[in-house]
Symmetry: C2
Subunit: 306 residues, 2 copies
């Protein structure tokens, strides 16, 4: 699936992932009015997402769907989550479920079945929340990750492991140094490279990627040198403060090796002065184009043209 | 909510939490036959849980509902999750949603709204998945935890932060020592104590608890000495190998300070030789009684009678 994602990045010449972190308050007034239940809100969110997917499907490789923004609308929210994942896959996009799942082995197997595998009901193999990639948290160590690796191998799926996150306090634990002089994030990074070693594809990247925040270019630079076969999912561009020049260190000489997420900057583009007068769909389209230019220009400046 | 949980433990003289990690294959054949869809499976699981809750509600303080075992049945599974949480709360049990959620601040706020707070839809405050406690993962540091703390304070809710997990590879990261000689799990533990400092209740425990595996009594002993105001949620008893004598170190002199989870050992008691001939409900009831005796005896031996 990592190969397929990279192929779509090359084909669209666009390493941009649209983050469907679709909070109800992001929706235009007309779509929100008259909503009084979680179900109303979830349906409005689904409609917002599906129109956006339809408009953007040929110019982006991928969407990242953030589970928290659906879970907060309860069971109807999870229906919206499922419908969004399905619509994006049907539109030919690579779908990253951003759920940061983690648990002990037996339980991690259930999460993996839910997102990357199948659920067995009396011998029937059924799909719960079908996605191409899932984000995971490695605090529990290898046996909490192995069930996901199994589906990565068997079903040609992928995971992105949290390594260096984009938030301000990410360093509180992640940047602390162990006795051997290496930080927690470097230690997790080495595990990521190891876990992916047997699934390196034709572009040199494995099915086990890393989440590396655009807001921390120094750490990103260290990680890119250290992780030769690891694709980076890069959050933190735009609203969180990450710049295109800063995150260009995540890419290799071919302009590959990373996919840059933007959520609010695209979903809420229609609210910003830059896209005044455009409806949310056209504003999002224009924001994707601008972000693509911004990143590909930065890559070009760094001698890494896609 | 920590006070309420401790009161219920004292009232039932039972520090046992029943883990509703209800996989479809745990159900008796009669409840499983004719199920061919995720929805069928989810309904059967709900029925299994609700009968169990009805039978156990007066002898246990709490249930822990593991999200992964519901997510694997898709949207109908999340309905079963929601119905189980609601039924347990209605039965007067303290409900721990075991979902190990984690994300950057803005997104953690959504998770917190989903489980511990309310979701705003056009000014209406609605409940998504209502629980009393939520398990969380601290890899992202303080700003990923703060949104949960806010609801702990405002809504009298609680969280359990993963500190030392029960799985075999938990030491891979958690037991590594930082330059100051302290392990990752000790470092997270100190943050937990700090995060809870302003919510210590009448029994001396705060609203910010810690997950501490019964399978690691040495680490549990270190943690109990270190964390004077932290309630422990203790998984790993029974099927995973944790013993009552081992985990007694988690409790204070009053026999308080911990709640011990058991999932498979109770849900699947009817399949074991010890409870042969009993239906699943009576077997679970007997298994809870036996577990209570096992733990209270161990506490007694350690001079910590409840």
């Amino acid at each position: 699936m990592t190969d397929t994602l990279i192929e779509k990045i090359i084909q669209t010449k666009n390493p941009v992932c649209v983050g469907l972190d679709t909070a109800f308050e992001y929706l235009p007034d007309a779509m929100r009015k008259n909503c009084t239940t979680l179900s109303d809100a979830a349906q409005a969110i689904t409609e917002f997402n599906l129109r956006l997917i339809e408009r953007l499907k040929d110019v982006i490789p991928s969407v990242k769907v953030q589970a928290a923004y659906y879970e907060m609308y309860g069971v109807p929210g999870m229906q919206a989550f499922s419908d969004t994942l399905q619509a994006a896959r049907k539109a030919g996009l690579i779908v990253i479920a951003d759920a940061k799942r983690n648990d002990i082995g037996a339980t991690a197997s259930c999460y993996s079945a839910a997102f990357l595998g199948e659920t067995d009901v009396n011998g029937l193999k059924l799909n719960a929340f079908s996605s191409d990639f899932l984000t995971v948290n490695a605090y529990l160590g290898a046996d909490g990750i192995e069930p996901f690796l199994k589906h990565c191998r068997q079903n040609n799926k992928g995971i992105f492991v949290l390594v260096k996150t984009s938030n301000p306090s990410s360093g509180q634990l992640q940047n602390r140094k162990f006795e051997n002089g290496e930080t927690l994030f470097e230690t997790v990074a080495d595990l990521v490279e190891e876990w992916g070693a047997d699934t390196v594809g034709k572009y040199g990247y494995s099915r086990v990627g890393a989440v590396v925040g655009a807001t921390h270019p120094n750490e990103a630079s260290i990680l890119r040198k250290r992780l030769k076969h690891t694709l980076f999912l890069i959050p933190g561009y735009g609203a969180q403060g990450g710049s295109a020049d800063g995150l260009s260190v995540c890419f290799d000489g071919r302009g590959l090796g990373g996919i840059v997420n933007n959520s609010r900057g695209i979903l809420c583009a229609y609210k910003s002065d830059a896209y005044k007068g455009l409806n949310y769909i056209d504003a999002a389209y224009a924001a994707v184009e601008d972000m693509q230019k911004d990143i590909t220009s930065a890559l070009h400046r760094a001698g890494k043209s896609l």
